[in-house]
């Protein structure tokens, strides 16, 4: 089979992933049945199209990466680099080797090569590096296929209208971004790790980078505000207005009463009194439909409605794209061009019974015109459903995200909603209270976007000026000004987007790295001691590393490469020029940096083991300890060393992962650990052997 392919002078089409390769091959095969073949475990597909053989071979995302060209790995600065197969840099990427060998072999007999990887900066770079390195410098005469969905028609159209050459501006921008990020990441991370190692003699993984540094700095600044926050008091006056048989919440004119005495005085003057309606203010306002999803707004809404982290949303969206249920998700666009065929998509979606009624509403409109946002993306439209119906059951997260995207698609075609708000001014013994109502006069798009659009209504009865309103349940509530909220993975992504750092493709992974390195923890992101120390160290020794201004400037220049208005060589030279003095600064202060970081690493490692306060002595902490004698682990009190507490509790052993659960038992308030069996869901275990929650197990064992 391999020989046949080699001799056939076929067209070689490169896809980014195996599933994309299958869809492209099936779309291009005149019978829609491409042959699935295999070369040493690498799947590839053969399609026949107008007498021509097309071989579609997948990559696994990036097969090549930037790596140090020569020299030791425990040294910086390093400015010599080259692109190498990923398996050379990382021994774990063994599969990459077989893919590169298969592509090389399949390319040898090809008379034409086409890059059909995702049409964006990463897809262009993936295709370019494969054509250049795996196919032997074939990037110059390769062609480019551009599509936004993996629908048959769009792939066939893209094949008929191939770009005669690769999109070299995107390629240059992609190569530059990878190289700049590598130069910054490797050098700065090595500076930190080597400083710590030279001080303590121990190796620890630390990292920072061009985008990671400023992102962590945002979180640290917010954390400082929260940790040094002092709440100030104010008082609220709560009351209810009795209208007919119903009670309605009313708000006092001042939302915050600054003095307790004043609040008590108002309470005295209004409690048990009747008020009179002095004014009724009615306002109607239009609420335009939402704009179509770009990746950022999809990640934000998926977090709000389902609690999915941005990287999880991106993963799910990519699966939906590869299954041809939605268009390409890594897009910045909030526009839907008519060319995607609104009516056809709607009619396809209408075949699903849960969408039938909604589709009828949209299709009954005389003119299908989507509400569009300002943001645009030259490569792809906003995210939209293709109309393809799932043939097999989707996973619940896929089902949810597809429903959100589908209903958003309906909503953007919906009519403007009309809402009415009513404010009733009630005077009570010289004080003013407001009774607020709101209702929907015309549902418009809100009906198409359920349950994701809020429809909360407070419908008031008919009221008139001068009407007497008895005030009930008047009470003072003690309140405190709240600290600023913590960032979560979704809001930090939005912040990065607003600040213009990172790209839609990289932001989510940078947030993941902050967790992986132990710089932040928890969903409401708490910066750890280690995260603090790394940022503090960088800021003190070289503030430019955490400066968002510098990162943004470089980002803008890299974007200019995409449009051909900046040269890649200039950007690289500038990035290195800015990096050199920073590295010199860090090296000159290596000892103090190493000492600070080593202490933070030691504290972080201890913090990872702390389960919670010891319930026996109440002064020490229970920590996870490994016995040198038996090799077994158990929970023991830190006061064991000074001989004041002997508390020790068994923990599950080798087949389970154990870490502090950072919560106490709801039943007995003792600290808990999270136990994770291999490839199973984790569960929490209370350390108290006599916890009432374990009574059932004791009975079973007993």
């Amino acid at each position: 089979m391999e020989r046949k392919v080699e001799q056939s002078r076929h067209t070689l089409v490169l896809a980014e992933k195996p599933e994309a390769a299958r869809r492209i091959a099936e779309a291009l095969d005149q019978k829609g049945k491409a042959a699935r073949l295999d070369m040493r475990g690498v799947p590839y597909f053969r399609a026949e199209n107008n007498g021509r053989t097309i071989v579609v071979v997948p990559a696994l995302g990036h097969l090549y990466t930037v790596a140090q060209e020569r020299g030791r790995r425990d040294y910086y600065p390093v400015f010599n680099y080259r692109w190498v197969p990923k398996y050379v840099e990382n021994g774990r990427d063994k599969q990459v080797r077989t893919f590169i060998e298969a592509i090389d072999e399949l390319s040898r007999g090809a008379s034409e090569r086409i890059n059909a990887c995702d049409y964006d900066i990463e897809g262009s770079t993936i295709g370019y590096t494969i054509l250049k390195y795996a196919c032997g410098e074939k990037e110059r005469d390769a062609k480019r296929m551009r599509f936004s969905t993996l629908m048959d028609q769009e792939i066939q159209d893209a094949y008929r209208s191939l770009s005669p050459s690769l999109d070299l501006n995107l390629v240059e921008a992609g190569l530059t971004r990878h190289e700049v990020d590598w130069l910054w990441g490797v050098n700065l991370s090595r500076a930190l790790m080597l400083a710590a190692k030279h001080w303590s003699g121990r190796y620890a993984t630390l990292s920072t980078g061009r985008v990671q540094g400023p992102t962590l700095n945002f979180l640290v600044e917010r954390e400082k505000e929260i940790r040094s926050f002092v709440p100030t008091p104010f008082w609220n006056l709560n009351a209810k207005a009795e209208i007919g048989d119903a009670l309605y919440d009313v708000a006092y004119e001042n939302e915050k009463i600054p003095k307790r005495d004043l609040a008590s005085k108002i309470l005295e003057e209004t409690s048990g009194k009747d008020g009179t309606i002095e004014d009724i203010q009615v306002k109607s306002y239009h609420q335009a439909p939402p704009t179509p999803f770009d990746l950022g707004s999809l990640q934000s809404d998926a977090y709000r409605h389902f609690g999915y982290t941005p990287s999880r949303t991106l993963n799910i969206a990519e699966r939906l794209y590869l299954s041809a249920f939605i268009s390409y998700p890594r897009t910045s666009s909030q526009k839907l061009p008519p060319a995607i065929g609104y009516a056809d998509i709607l009619r396809s979606l209408g075949k699903r019974k849960e969408y039938k009624d909604l589709v009828e509403i949209v299709l009954s409109k005389r003119d299908l015109k989507p509400q569009e946002g300002k943001k645009d993306d030259p490569a792809h439209p906003a995210i939209y459903p293709t109309g393809n119906a799932p043939q097999t059951a989707l996973s619940p997260p896929e089902e949810k995200l597809l429903d959100l995207i589908t209903k958003r698609f309906f909503a953007v075609f919906g009519d403007t909603a009309l809402r009415q708000s009513m404010r009733v001014v009630i005077k009570v013994n010289g004080h003013t209270f407001y009774l607020s109502g709101r209702r929907i006069l015309k549902e418009g798009w809100l009906k198409l976007y359920q349950p994701y659009a809020k429809e909360d209504e407070v419908v008031l009865p008919t009221l008139e000026i001068g009407q007497r309103i008895p005030l009930r349940q008047v009470a003072i509530e003690d309140k405190f000004v709240q600290p600023p909220p913590r960032y979560n993975p979704s809001s930090v992504l939005r912040l990065m987007e607003e600040e213009g750092i990172g790209t839609k493709a990289t932001r989510a992974s940078i947030v993941d790295t902050l967790y992986d390195r132990g710089y932040v923890r928890d969903e409401r992101m708490v910066v750890t001691d280690l995260g603090f120390t790394v940022t503090e160290t960088l800021e003190r020794n070289s503030p430019r590393i955490v400066s968002v201004k510098f990162t943004r400037e470089l980002e803008e220049k890299m974007e200019k490469i995409e449009t051909g208005s900046e040269l890649r060589e200039n950007v690289l030279a500038e990035a290195i020029g800015r990096l050199k003095p920073i590295l010199e600064e860090l090296r000159s202060r290596e000892t103090s940096i190493g000492q600070t970081l080593s202490e933070a690493i030691r504290r972080a490692q201890l913090e990872k083991r702390i389960i919670g306060p010891c319930p026996r002595c109440r002064t020490g902490n229970l920590i996870i300890i490994y016995s040198r004698k038996s090799g077994k682990r158990f929970a023991g009190c830190t006061n064991f060393r000074n001989g004041t507490c002997q508390a020790a509790f068994p923990l599950p052993q080798h087949l389970y992962g154990v870490k502090p659960a950072r919560r106490s038992c709801k039943v007995c308030q003792w600290p808990m650990v999270e136990v994770k069996p291999k490839e199973k869901r984790p569960w929490n275990l209370c350390l108290n052997p006599d916890c009432p929650s374990k009574a059932k197990y004791r009975r079973n064992e007993g």
């Binding site: 505000e225 940790r227 040094s228 002092v230 100030t232 600054p258 003095k259 405190f480 000004v481 600290p483």
Partner: protein, 74 residues
């Protein structure tokens, strides 16, 4: 010299972080005193137990209570 709370190096009575919290405590006392007419010590006790107070501010409040430091001139 080190911070009496976290042992970070400092030239002043607290490290940068705990000094920031100390400044906030001092500023916020004006609002608390006007709102509730309470003493510095009462204020520190309430703030140290308030769930909205930041960790560093709690640590400074407890440190001041332990030292019996007199209220700052405001």
């Amino acid at each position: 010299m080190t911070c009496p709370i976290c042992s970070r190096g400092t030239q002043e009575s607290y490290c940068d972080f705990h000094r920031m919290a100390h400044d906030n405590l001092t500023k916020a006392y004006v609002e608390w005193r006007d709102a509730m007419n309470i003493t510095w010590e009462e204020y520190l006790k309430i703030v140290a137990d308030n769930p909205n107070t930041g960790q560093w501010a709690i640590e400074v409040a407890r440190d001041l209570l332990g030292k019996g430091v007199e209220r700052p001139a405001i």
